[in-house]
Symmetry: none
Subunit: 235 residues, 2 copies
DNA sequence: AAGATGCGGCCAGTATGCGGCCGCAATTGC
DNA sequence: GCAATTGCGGCCGCATACTGGCCGCATCTT
């Protein structure tokens, strides 16, 4: 299953996930010692892959996309993962056909063996619906693009008390919390960080960036929500 | 420069070029014997790469693109949907790298514009973790296959009171409910429908089918759970 | 300042991969 | 249909290359 000669590929796949890892994490995943992970990373660097690392607490192994990476293929387990995750969303959004059609189309382009696996997972899995949450996928795309390009966003907003206003913000993150979708953004008029529920946003327009990305002044969104939630437009 | 442990990557790069090769060519290029090339190709196949080959004069070693998504297959919204659903699973299973690596690999096979959209969605979205739930993807695959083929499943089970037993069942559905994963199956020894928590199953073996699919005698799994949950092995 | 983490040298033990050989199968071209 | 070419994978003995542990040192966070 895992042999030294294929470990370089597995390591590459792990690093490519975008997560950061400690040598110890990688060692556990690959079932080798940390020393060997360091050696493997060194070999990858020797082949031209930009494996970055940094010592100290909160250490980091990551792959900077520098050169072309060989096509890393989906394993059967990963196909199970993808199909399952789409099924979860289908269960959450039973009136939204996007997920189901996407899953079907995806299955069609998988090679034979994986196609059977995907169909089997879809057939054998049932998700009991937990929390209804509908979302406007076009708005999700708009937010995604504006975050990626550093563009600003304008929209009509109706707050929890029913007051209407026009907002101009710098989007920071799109957030799923409990059963609602939110936008975490810097409100340019109110000069503060705010939380907006996506289903209360309307007529959004994107004003082309790029602007510099504003630094989010908390360690994490969780920190912000727990320390400061009273000040935002949503609880 | 060229060591056994990185040769799989080099071979992949050579095959990726689109050329076709004879084993002898590859052997010369990689400075190993043709026998070793065959072994390497075998390992790649074992990892899911579709390395095609054909004997005879004008022979051929090539890498068939296993999954390539045509530009018009998926809409931007559908890509947002898929990526989001994987992100949700990533948030649920923060210690499971499968979802993250799968998402990254998926991004790679998307055509350019959609690839940017996928990256943007992943960058701009954050999911706050609701319920921890870990799952053994290999077991998910086993269940999927057994449901698809009508095979039976045997496994060691530890029930909620800590009692161990060996079970022989006919799997019906794989179920995500609240924060746990379950198997809905017909227990052949107890002659009844039962619910098994996946994390309490061990040493599962599949006994080849196909057997006829047993009819599930309720309208839905929800109905069964609400009407009859006292009789099952899990609440 | 302290703790966490990465780096890479060294070394002994050994697992792993290697090459060569084989009979067999598949494909091409005559 | 036959011969030539090439891939497949089992087997075996050998030695290379990998492994893990240990170390002192550098780097980064708190």
């Amino acid at each position: 299953m895992d042999s030294p000669s294929t470990r370089s590929l597995e390591l590459l796949a792990l690093l490519q996930s975008g997560r950061t890892w400690t040598a110890h994490d990688l060692a556990a995943r690959l079932r080798v010692s940390a020393r060997t992970v360091r050696r493997d990373a060194m070999r990858l660097r020797g082949m031209g892959y930009d494996v970055s690392s940094r010592p100290g607490p909160g250490a980091l192994y990551a792959l900077r996309p520098s050169m072309k990476i060989p096509p890393l293929l989906l394993s059967a387990d990963e196909v199970s993962t993808i199909i399952t995750s789409i099924l979860i969303l289908e269960a959450w959004l039973p009136d939204d056909a996007k997920a189901a059609t996407a899953r079907t189309k995806l299955e069609q382009v998988l090679p034979g063996g994986l196609q059977r696996r995907a169909a089997a997972v879809a057939l054998s899995t049932q998700v009991l619906r937990e929390a209804p949450a509908s979302v406007d996928w076009e708005l999700v795309g708009t937010i995604a693009d504006s975050v990626a390009t550093g563009a600003r966003l304008g929209f009509d907003y109706t707050d929890q008390r029913g007051r209407h206003s026009r907002r101009r913000v710098e989007p920071y993150r799109h957030l799923l919390r409990q059963q609602y979708w939110y936008l975490v953004a810097y409100d340019l008029d109110r000069d503060d960080w705010r939380l907006f529920r996506l289903d209360r946003m309307e007529a959004s327009t994107i004003s082309p960036g790029p602007h510099a990305h504003r630094a989010f002044p908390w360690n994490s969104i969780e920190d912000w929500l727990t320390s400061d939630f009273g000040a935002s437009d949503e609880h």
